[in-house]
């Protein structure tokens, strides 16, 4: 299986952390929090769509709120595939970082 890109990894993590609140805007905020970068709203639609197509995310429509002009939210959820992909990238990181002494960061 192909490894996740950094962006994809961030997004999947954000979705996982946000749980029931995982829709575009909180995801964007979360991403802003995680990284130093300022994420645009448009910038996250593409990876979200890609991940969903790949079967690592699934989505459903939830309730609508007045500040959205009465429109539904699209809530994302990690699929088992998504979780597997996250675990995989975590393991790869562990492996490649293993043996690098702490003092590198001193």
């Amino acid at each position: 299986m192909k490894l996740l890109t950094r962006t994809e990894e961030f997004i999947l993590l954000a979705v996982w952390k946000l749980q029931e609140e995982a829709y575009s805007i909180p995801i964007q905020e979360k991403l802003n929090e995680i990284s130093d970068k300022e994420w645009s709203l448009g910038g996250i639609y593409m990876p979200l769509e890609r991940l969903e197509k790949r079967g690592q995310l699934k989505s459903y429509l939830s309730e609508s709120t007045p500040e959205r002009g009465g429109r539904h939210k699209r809530i994302y959820k990690l699929t088992p595939d998504g979780k597997r992909a996250l675990r995989k990238i975590y393991e790869v990181q562990q492996t490649i970082w293993a043996g690098i002494p702490q003092l590198m960061f001193g």
């Binding site: 829709y23 575009s24 805007i25 964007q28 709203l41 448009g42 639609y45 429509l61 609508s64 709120t65 007045p66 500040e67 959205r68 002009g69 429109r71 539904h72 939210k73 699209r74």
Partner: protein, 874 residues
């Protein structure tokens, strides 16, 4: 929630795509917008929102275009497949619609041409003709005249600041001589601002000064070419002589383009009339009406307001003239007629410069064009609904697979549009092939140049789109409504309502066809009546040679005796007016026993000896003109029976009574039986035929006794040329001139025939398609009937019955409509046929027969087929 994103931007975004994903995205945008609003303020938030529009719109639009193109590709494929699969239907549809389009476009061209008359003048929308009603002076059924006094134009311009330009023109026939070659041509006598009002292209000369020289003559390009070849004609002299008039020398001051054909007057030359002796006289005399007056009003002047001032104006000048001082009740009432109306709306005016069009025909043709197009569309609808049964399954499957009703409607409409586009192509070919014939038919110069103009194509495409949408709409609405489960489960057949609708369409078609057919027959019968009716005047083999050369009239007697030596020439006579159309009228007030102030309006025709005998006019009392009894001192008059009853005499009383007309005193020597000396549109009015000397004659009349007409004509030309060399030899046969009077009716007749045939073809195509369909539907039923013992005849009548019933109903509907319209048209003729029942019965039988043939072709085939064939396949 006071602060919403910009409305327009939101609207654009929400129109881009319909699905749920996009809706949630829009929700995100709005939420984020609210977020930005709090953080950065309204301006920034709006800016951001608009940026989203710019970012998403292009790709979404392309996406949608792509998919609709993709869907259209599919529609196209299905449409072509179903066209191929059902070849006869396709042929009927395309061919039928093509005929409809052809009629529509051709008639459209004709109408456009009719409406284009005189619009090429730059100020045509502000230009008016002054016309007048002359109370009590009824001439050929109307008191309205297009002619006005000469002084009118200049005086109007002088007295009213609203008048920007004013001009007049009169018609003239003149002999133009250059280098000893004489041409008899018609032109205009004009003055004032003629070239400021009427716009022509100038090749040479100056439009502002060309007419100001009293001896000016302006030639059309063709005329200049004829007279001077390729030389520059400016400054050259032409000897000009009015018919029966004096000769003067004119100088060419301009060359202009030939006047366009779509103009209500035509000319070869225009001259200034100030040198004629009548000019000054005419400028003073307000009771003489002999020219056409045109004015251009200043921008913004309402013509209706302005024409209210005309009666007062007329009182000042016209009422002052001697004639109207004595006859105040005859004072003319002037009003304005828009230049652009002159061609189509001058039917009520006497003395138009030349024969005009008629707005009635424009309306009638428009209606016919629409009707034929409608019939063709109806055909399409009819066939498609009939076919809906076979396509119902396709609709069902499409619906199950997920097509919306709108998709299905789009599909059927685009199928219809494809068919109508194909038929436009076919129609274009037909139009190119037949336009010359049609132009001749309507007597107008229509060219196929329009195929080069984008306007035409825009028109054609929009018409075909419209026709496609109209004809596709019923199947689209009907088929898309069907419930998929029902269609797929129970083989839903077209319901009762569907059959009713189809039948109604057939009835409408045939009603229209029968009405047209009745019209055709009526017009044909009336024309036949015109040609065969005895007008009381023998027209056969009589040639009228028009000549104005005084030398010829001086030696007329010699010519006559010379000609009579030829065995092919039976009679020679002369007359001042066209014997077919004696349209000159005068007022007489001197006859035996006339009371003071008594007057009679009477038509008058001065003729030479042998006129009555040559034309076989019947004398009911007294005698004809006789050379033996001729006296110089007294003029011989003949009057007709109509005049007799006006004068209050019996036939025998009248003979020998004194009578006077046009200043000629004499006696009535005989009474002629009433004959049609004008046209069959009018009742026979009082007429006097006056014996006259040769000085004022215009026509030499020659009756040819045998069939060697061409030889005799050549001989006539030689003899006349010998006496008046250099003068053109122009002749016409009386029966040709007679038919010319009814040319517009003849034209109408021919056009009607064509349209009727076309409507019949289209209606039969439709009927044929429907019959094919219905018989196919009933193949199994027929097979079973045959197996059970039905014979062929029973089956044919079973199949035909339904259709013929429809034609029968159409007939019942069509008869009153046809009767009403025919009656209306016939009203124009004082002499007309009566609407006999056989006309209607004939139209009915003809239609019935053709419908029967059409339907039988299919039903006989089906009835004869082997039942085994139809029953074994399941």
């Amino acid at each position: 929630m006071a602060d919403k994103p910009p409305k327009l931007a939101e609207k654009i975004l929400s129109k881009l795509q319909y699905d749920d994903v996009w809706k949630t995205t829009l929700g995100d945008f709005e939420e984020y917008y609210q977020h930005l609003l709090k953080k950065l303020g309204k301006a920034e938030a709006n800016k951001w929102y608009w940026k989203q529009v710019l970012r998403y719109a292009p790709s979404k639009i392309i996406h949608r275009l792509y998919w609709s193109a993709e869907m259209f590709k599919n529609y196209l494929k299905i449409a072509l497949r179903s066209l191929k699969k059902q070849k006869s239907y396709s042929f009927i549809n395309i061919f039928g619609l093509a005929i409809g389009f052809t009629c529509f476009v051709m008639i459209g061209l004709f109408i456009q041409y009719e409406l284009s008359y005189d619009t090429f003048h730059e100020q045509s929308d502000r230009t008016y003709r002054v016309v007048a009603k002359q109370p009590g002076n009824e001439y050929q059924g109307s008191e309205w005249f297009a002619l006005t006094p000469t002084a009118m134009a200049a005086t109007l311009k002088r007295d009213f600041p609203e008048v920007e330009h004013a001009t007049y023109f009169g018609l003239t026939k003149s002999l133009l001589t250059v280098n000893n070659n004489t041409y008899n041509e018609s032109g205009l006598i004009a003055d004032g601002d003629f070239f400021q009002i009427f716009s022509y292209r100038w090749y040479r000369g100056n439009p502002y000064t060309a007419l100001s020289d009293p001896n000016a003559i302006i030639l059309t390009r063709t005329m200049a070419q004829v007279l001077f070849g390729d030389e520059n004609p400016i400054g050259k002299s032409i000897d000009q002589e009015y018919v029966n008039g004096k000769e003067t020398t004119k100088t060419v001051t301009g060359v202009i383009a030939d006047p366009p054909k779509n103009s209500h007057f035509s000319f070869k030359f225009i001259l200034n009339d100030q040198t004629t002796p009548y000019y000054k006289y005419n400028l003073q005399e307000w009771s003489n009406t002999n020219i056409y007056t045109f004015i251009t009003l200043n921008d913004g002047v309402e013509s209706e307001q302005f024409s209210k001032k005309l009666p007062g104006f007329a009182d000042t000048y016209i009422a002052a003239s001697d004639y109207y001082q004595n006859n105040p009740d005859k004072l003319p009432i002037h009003t304005l007629q828009a230049l652009e109306d002159v061609h189509l709306k001058s039917d009520y005016l006497n003395f138009n410069p030349r024969s005009t069009g008629d707005i009635k025909y424009v309306y009638m043709f428009s209606i016919i064009a629409l009707i034929i197009l409608l019939i063709a569309c109806v055909n399409y609808m009819n066939l498609s609904t009939a076919r809906s049964l076979t396509r119902a399954k396709e609709v069902g499957v499409r619906k199950v697979v997920g097509a919306f009703r709108s998709n299905l409607m789009m599909q059927f409409i685009s199928e219809a549009v494809i068919i109508s586009l194909l038929s436009i192509i076919v129609a274009t070919c037909i139009i190119i092939a037949f336009l010359p014939t049609f132009s001749e038919l309507v007597g107008r110069e229509l060219t196929s140049q329009i195929f080069l103009s984008w306007k035409f194509w825009a028109f054609a495409l929009s018409t075909s789109l419209l026709a496609g949408i109209v004809s596709g709409s019923y199947p689209a609405f009907y088929l898309s409504k069907l419930k998929p489960a029902l269609i797929l489960k129970s083989q839903q057949r077209g319901g009762k309502g569907n059959t009713l609708f189809r039948n109604l369409l057939v009835i409408v078609q045939f009603t229209i066809t029968i009405v047209l057919l009745i019209g055709s027959i009526v017009v044909f019968k009336q024309l036949d009546y015109i040609q065969s009716t005895d007008t009381g005047l023998e027209r056969e083999r009589v040639v009228a040679i028009s000549t104005t050369d005084s030398k010829l009239w001086d030696s007329y007697e010699t010519l006559k005796s010379e000609l009579l030596k030829n065995p092919s020439i039976q009679d020679v006579s002369s007359s001042q007016f066209d014997p077919i159309y004696m349209s000159s009228r005068t007022t007489i007030s001197e006859w035996d026993g006339v009371t003071e102030g008594e007057e009679l309006q009477i038509y008058i025709s001065p003729v030479g000896f042998d006129f009555i005998e040559m034309l076989d006019i019947e004398i009911v009392a007294g005698r004809s003109f006789d050379e033996e009894l001729y006296r110089e001192t007294s003029t011989d008059f003949l009057v007709n029976e109509a005049a007799l009853s006006e004068l209050g005499w019996t036939k025998n009383e009248a003979i020998g009574k004194s009578f006077s007309a046009w200043g000629n005193e004499g006696t009535i020597v005989g009474i002629v039986k009433d004959f049609n000396f004008l046209s069959l549109y009018q009742q026979i009015a009082p007429l006097t035929i006056m014996l006259t000397n040769q000085n004022n004659q215009r026509y030499v009349l020659v009756k040819i006794s045998d069939s060697k007409i061409q030889n005799t004509l050549a001989l006539l030309e030689a003899s006349i040329k010998e006496i008046s060399p250099g003068h053109p030899f122009s002749y016409s046969f009386l029966d040709d001139s007679y038919n010319d009077m009814y040319r517009s009716d003849l034209r109408l007749g021919t056009i009607f025939n064509y349209f009727t045939v076309l409507a019949l073809i289209i209606a039969c195509l439709g009927l044929f398609g429907l019959a094919t369909f219905v018989t196919e539907q009933r193949t199994k039923e027929i097979g079973i009937r045959k197996v059970l013992g039905a014979n062929i005849l029973q089956i044919i009548s079973l199949l035909n019955k339904d259709f013929l019933k429809l034609v029968g109903i159409s007939f019942i509907v069509a008869v009153p409509i046809g009767w009403y319209l025919a009656q209306n048209w016939l009203q124009e003729f004082a002499f007309r046929i009566s609407l006999q029942p056989f006309i209607f019965v004939g139209a009915g039988i003809l239609t019935f027969g053709i419908a029967l043939l059409t339907v039988s072709y299919k039903s006989i085939k089906t009835a004869r087929s082997n039942p085994v064939e139809s029953l074994k396949s399941e």
